[in-house]
Symmetry: C2
Subunit: 314 residues, 2 copies
């Protein structure tokens, strides 16, 4: 029977989002339920199976090519398990085998960064590229790469630690323990910290009009002309741009796709990245490499899991 | 007839170094002659053919699997030509076709950075790795990468522009026009410039005992305890280490191989790289990734061209 579909499972800390997807990336059926991570691995697995059962209700299982799962990690992709999760109570949680056996359908697992990268590559802003880097900038900074049409994982499955590239020797301390990482200078968290430092000082800023200041308020007030907010963003986005220029000079990709909350701020972010890339990239690389906003937003996880299923079952 | 050999041609600005090499990377016959680049492309091609004739004298051509050529670039690898060379009078110099036709042996061309990378991967310090980055530090800083066992070229054949990764915003001007590149802070040329700046100042340093100071004298005097020389190297090698740590966090390789004149200084270079990597790399990446000195020195070009011939004719 012709294989027309794949199933994508986006396993998150709070929600499981599962969809039946056709080979063009269109969602045919979808369901979102609570993960109930606090109830332990058995309940979570049962919940995943429930969602897959549900999206398969109206199709012949023989039409399903593969199942893909995107999960927080670190993972052991070969063994198909979640080694552990910093914020969830999983340890050596075997996922692939029970799913594969229940449905008798090939099943693949990868981490959320790789899966989001794949989703933009196959169905989003990266479509048609051969070499593509995905960078997500939200509370942290992370990413993934497609090189010559395949996920590039590196030797310990940790490639594309973009957030921990050093762009300022002796810069602010990063959560990872090091100083001057992109994440410590340009993430949403970093922007918020710079804003709090400003509020703790004597400087005049319209950020004082808020009870609680996050990166979002800094973008709003910069847009309204607040000098301090503009300074904070100018600095942060300049370091983000340096990190991205370094990635471009290293990977020489067709496209760099930027996702995550900070990318939602739009023009100010992309203008600054472009300025730093133009200054810092080899001209040939700069002229070729397009920087674009990620297209898939909240569907990146589930469509990426579907993309993983398509790519790995080829 | 069993294919036992390949030919490697290292085309340089002053010399052509050609060898008959067996599939284990052992040189069977070799010859070096002058390039005579100033006499133009026809003479250079004739010279290359002469060297190939010579190394093939005592073998049956049917035993030769392929011919590889390493050349300065930029090249058009598909068309088999040298597009131009900044320091040599070549323009759209067609190399592959006449060689292939004369010997009726498959012939491949690649640039010197990729070829040196391949040589260490197949016959040198990178043997046995799957993902490997090669960094050369001499007057400039350059490199190449083997990912999943193949040369990674990027989308415009400019990947691994390691020398032009920004490691100091607002740092010294680089030859490329940008500021704060690894090359502007850590190349042999950069070390020499920092030494000249010291000599132009009032600082006390034993570097004043030389008529002409290059990076070499800075290494010698640092070893002898000169404070200024030690400071210069500490700074330069620290920025080199940051660049290499950034490459490690990006590519997550099995090995990073360091070649070029600066690497010859040995322990002081590798200790500083290790210090920065330990500080700046993800722990898993740091624990896995070995940093080693290139092994092939002056034979990297010719053996790399041979390695190219072996790899591409597979």
């Amino acid at each position: 029977m012709e294989k027309k579909y794949v199933v994508g499972v986006d396993l998150g800390g709070t929600k499981i989002y599962t969809a039946l997807v056709n080979l063009d990336g269109q969602i045919i059926e979808e369901i979102t339920i609570k993960t109930e991570a606090e109830k332990g691995e058995k309940v979570v697995l049962d919940n995943i199976l429930k969602t897959i059962d549900k999206v398969l209700e109206n199709v012949d299982r023989k039409e399903v090519k593969a199942i893909g799962i995107g999960s927080p990690g670190p993972l052991d992709i070969e063994k198909g398990l979640i080694v552990y999760t910093p914020n969830l109570p999983f340890k050596n949680f075997e996922l692939v085998k029970p799913i594969k056996e229940r449905y008798n359908i090939p099943t693949y697992l990868d981490n959320d960064a790789n899966v989001a990268t794949l989703s933009e590559f196959m169905f989003g802003a990266g479509k048609g590229s051969k070499n593509m880097v995905y960078v997500t900038v939200s509370t942290g900074v992370g990413g993934g790469a497609i090189l010559n049409g395949n996920i590039y994982r590196g030797s310990t499955a940790n490639a594309l630690e973009i957030g921990h590239i050093t762009v300022m020797k002796g810069g602010p301390r990063c959560g990872c323990g090091n100083t001057g990482c992109v994440e410590a200078l340009a993430s949403g968290t970093a922007i918020m910290k710079r804003a709090k430092e400003a509020l703790d000082s004597k400087v005049e800023t319209s950020l004082r009009n808020y009870d609680n200041v996050t990166a979002k308020e800094v973008f709003i007030e910069a847009e309204r002309g607040d000098k301090v907010s503009k300074e904070i963003l100018n600095d942060a986005l300049s370091y983000l741009g340096i990190g991205i220029a370094n990635i471009a000079n290293s990977f020489d990709p067709d496209k760099i796709i930027i996702g995550g909350g900070v990318s939602e701020a739009g023009k100010i972010v992309f203008d600054k990245i472009d300025e730093e890339m133009q200054r810092r990239c080899l001209t040939t690389i700069y002229n070729h490499c397009k920087v674009e906003k990620a297209l898939l937003g909240g569907k990146a996880g589930v469509l990426g899991a579907a993309a993983l299923a398509i790519l790995e079952s080829k």
